[in-house]
C-alpha cells in the first residue's frame, strides 16, 4: 500500500502574535515552529496502516527547507521517505492552491491513502484535505476518530453535533485525522540515529496562483478591563447582579 501523510510546519502554539510592518502579515521574529498538532496524528495513522497492511509511508510537505526538521522526526518514528515541495512561505497560500499542488504530487506518487490533519493550526482552514480529495476525485472522510482500513475500502467514525457517524468509503481516499484517533508514538533512539544524516529531497512544482488576497491583519480588539466581583461563595449575588443588570446575559 502506498501511504502518504501530509504535514505542515506551523508556528508553535505558544507563539506570541505581532502584526508585521506592512499590516498584511504576522511578524514571525522569535517564533518557534512545529508540525501542526493534528499532523502528528496523521503520521501516526500512516505508520500504523503500514504496520497493519504493509507498504510504505511518504511524509509530504509544501514548505520551506527548514521543514526537514519535522520531516526527519517523522522518519525517525517509522515513515520511509520524506518529500519537501519547496515553498518559502506556505502560509501565504490559499487552501485551493495548497490542495492543488499537493494533489498533483499525491497523484504522481500513486498513493492509495493520504492522511492529513483535521486542521493546520496556523490559518485554521480545515479545508485542504477535503479539497485535495475532490481534485483527485477520491473519497474523503473528515475529522476521523476511528478507522478500519481493508482491501480497497474502509470504515471510519467521525463526531458530529448529532452523534458519531459511521462512514464507509472506497480507496483511494483522503482522511483528515482528529484527536482521539491514536496516540502518536515517540521516536526511538535507534530511529533518531538512523535518520540523523539523511537528506530530505527538495522538489519544485508547478505553481498555482492565489485567488485570495490579504487586505489587513489585526490583533483582536483588546477586551475591556474586567473586575473581580468578590471572593468565595459570598460573591455569587454580586456576580448574578452583574450578569443580569450589566451584561444582560441572564
Amino acid at each position: 500500500m502506498k501511504i502518504v501523510a501530509c504535514i505542515k510546519r506551523v508556528p508553535a502554539t505558544e507563539a506570541q502574535v505581532k502584526v508585521a510592518a506592512d499590516g498584511r502579515k504576522l511578524d514571525a521574529a522569535g517564533w518557534q515552529y512545529m508540525a501542526s498538532f493534528y499532523d502528528e496524528i496523521a503520521v501516526e495513522e500512516a505508520i500504523k496502516t503500514k504496520e497493519k497492511l504493509g507498504g510504505d509511508v511518504t511524509v509530504l510537505t509544501l514548505g520551506p527547507s527548514e521543514a526537514a526538521k519535522e520531516v526527519r522526526e517523522f522518519l525517525a518514528r517509522g515513515a520511509d521517505t520524506g518529500a519537501i515541495l519547496k515553498d518559502a512561505d506556505p502560509s501565504a497560500r490559499d487552501p485551493r492552491a495548497t490542495a492543488k499542488i499537493l494533489a498533483a504530487k499525491v497523484k504522481s506518487l500513486g498513493a492509495d491513502v493520504v492522511f492529513v490533519g483535521r486542521v493546520a493550526t496556523d490559518h485554521d482552514n480545515a479545508a485542504v484535505g477535503q479539497m485535495m480529495a475532490t481534485y483527485l476525485g477520491w473519497a474523503c472522510v473528515s475529522e476521523v476518530v476511528a478507522l478500519d482500513l481493508g482491501a480497497g475500502k474502509g470504515v471510519a467514525k467521525r463526531e458530529t453535533e448529532h452523534g458519531v457517524e459511521t462512514v464507509e468509503f472506497t480507496l483511494p481516499a483522503v482522511l483528515t485525522c482528529n484527536k482521539g484517533l491514536n496516540e502518536p508514538r515517540r521516536a526511538s533512539l535507534k530511529g533518531i540515529m538512523a535518520v540523523k544524516s539523511k537528506t530530505i529531497a527538495e522538489e519544485s512544482f508547478e505553481n498555482v496562483p492565489n485567488q485570495i488576497a490579504v487586505v489587513k491583519v489585526e490583533l483582536p480588539p483588546a477586551r475591556k478591563a474586567g473586575r473581580i466581583v468578590g471572593e468565595g461563595a459570598a460573591a455569587v449575588p454580586a456576580l448574578i447582579d452583574a450578569l443580569r443588570n450589566e451584561a444582560k446575559v441572564l
Binding site: 493534528y38 479545508a127 477520491w138 474523503c140 472522510v141 453535533e161 483582536p220 466581583v229 446575559v249 441572564l250
Partner: protein, 317 residues
C-alpha cells in the same frame, strides 16, 4: 443583485439556527439568497425559508444515504446552474466537511469560519481568525465564486416576509463515502460550537468525578454546553469534543464561564471572542482573570454549587 447560494441544514423540516444565521450573513451583503436543503424534511424546511429572507429554495429530495461528496456535487450544480456569485454554509461539522468540497468542484478557494462579511457589488470581503483567534485577517477573493463558511453565533438571522419559490430536485446517490449509521449522543447535549452559554471546567476540579458540578451549572442555564481545557481532556476526564482552545474548538458564546482553568495562551485563543467571560479560580493571579469580565476568587467546590442555585433562582423570576 446577484444570488448567494446558502446550504441550509435541517432536521425533521426544522432549519438549523446556525444556517439561518448564515442566510442573515448573506443578506447583509445586499444580495439575494437561494437556499439549498437536503435530507428527510428538505421540502418542509425549504418552504419555511421565506420567513428568514430566502427568495428561492431548492430542496434536494430522495432517500439516498448521506454522502458528503454526493451532496457537494448537488450543491455545486445549483451554484453553477443559477450563476451564483457566492456560496456560503455554516461552519458546523457538516458545513466544514462539505463546503470545501463544493469550493473545489467550483475550482475556487474557500474562507472558512468567517466572522465578518461585506460586499461591494460582487466583490466580497470577509474576516476570519488566524491562529485560533490570536489575529484576525481581512481577505478578498478574486475567485469566480466566493466560497465561505460562517462561524455560528456571530451573524444574526433575520426575520422577513419574503415569498420564497420552492423547487425540488433529485439528490444524487453515488457517493464515494457514505454514512451508514449515526449513534445519537447520550443526553443529546449541545455542542460547544453552537451553544450560547458554555460552562468549562479545568484541572482545578481535581477529578472527573467532580464534573457533575459543571453539568449542573450548565443545566441551571437551561441549554448550556459543557466545555473543558486540554489538560482534563488529555487526562481522559472529558471527551475531546468538549476541548476549547487552539487545538480544540474555537467558540464565541454569549457567556463563557471558566471554572478551575488557568487561562493558558492556547485556551484563551479558543474563547477570547466570547461576549461575556466569567472566571472562577482560587488563584487571584491566574491569567484567565486578564480576559474575564467578571471574576470570583475562590474554591470551585464552594462557589459553583452556590452559583448553580442562584442561577436557578434568578431564571425563575
Amino acid at each position: 443583485m446577484a444570488n448567494i447560494v446558502v446550504y441550509v441544514e435541517q432536521s425533521g423540516g426544522a432549519p438549523r439556527s446556525a444556517s439561518l444565521q448564515c442566510i442573515g450573513a448573506a443578506l447583509s451583503t445586499g444580495h439575494s439568497v437561494l437556499a439549498v436543503t437536503s435530507g428527510d424534511g428538505a421540502d418542509r424546511a425549504a418552504a419555511a425559508l421565506g420567513k428568514y429572507g430566502a427568495t428561492k429554495a431548492v430542496a434536494l429530495v430522495g432517500n439516498a444515504p448521506w454522502s458528503p461528496d454526493a451532496i457537494a456535487r448537488d450543491i455545486a450544480k445549483v451554484v453553477t446552474d443559477n450563476g451564483a456569485k457566492a456560496f456560503i454554509a455554516a461552519a458546523t461539522t457538516t458545513g466544514k466537511d462539505v463546503a470545501p468540497r463544493v469550493a473545489a468542484l467550483l475550482d475556487c478557494p474557500i474562507l472558512t469560519d468567517i466572522t465578518a462579511l461585506s460586499a461591494q457589488g460582487e466583490a466580497f470581503t470577509a474576516s476570519r481568525p488566524w491562529l485560533a483567534g490570536k489575529a484576525i485577517a481581512t481577505l478578498t477573493s478574486s475567485a469566480s465564486v466566493f466560497c465561505a463558511t460562517t462561524r455560528p453565533n456571530v451573524f444574526a438571522a433575520v426575520e422577513a416576509n419574503q415569498t420564497c419559490e420552492v423547487v425540488t430536485a433529485q439528490a444524487s446517490s453515488d457517493g464515494k463515502a457514505i454514512v451508514t449509521s449515526v449513534a445519537a449522543k447520550a443526553g443529546a447535549k449541545l455542542d460547544v460550537k453552537e451553544a450560547s452559554v458554555i460552562i468549562s471546567g479545568g484541572r482545578g476540579l481535581k477529578g472527573p468525578e467532580h464534573f457533575h458540578l459543571i453539568e449542573e451549572l450548565a443545566d441551571a442555564f437551561g441549554s448550556a454546553a459543557t466545555g473543558a481545557s486540554r489538560a482534563v481532556v488529555d487526562a481522559g476526564w472529558r471527551p475531546h469534543a468538549e476541548q476549547v482552545g487552539q487545538t480544540g474548538k474555537t467558540v464565541s458564546p454569549k457567556l463563557y464561564i471558566a471554572v478551575g482553568i488557568s487561562g493558558a495562551i492556547q485556551h484563551l485563543a479558543g474563547m477570547r471572542t466570547s461576549k461575556v467571560i466569567v472566571a472562577i479560580n482560587k488563584d487571584p493571579d491566574a491569567p484567565i482573570f486578564k480576559v474575564a469580565d467578571y471574576g470570583i476568587v475562590g474554591d470551585a467546590f464552594e462557589v459553583v454549587p452556590a452559583l448553580t442555585a442562584a442561577v436557578k433562582a434568578a431564571r425563575q423570576h
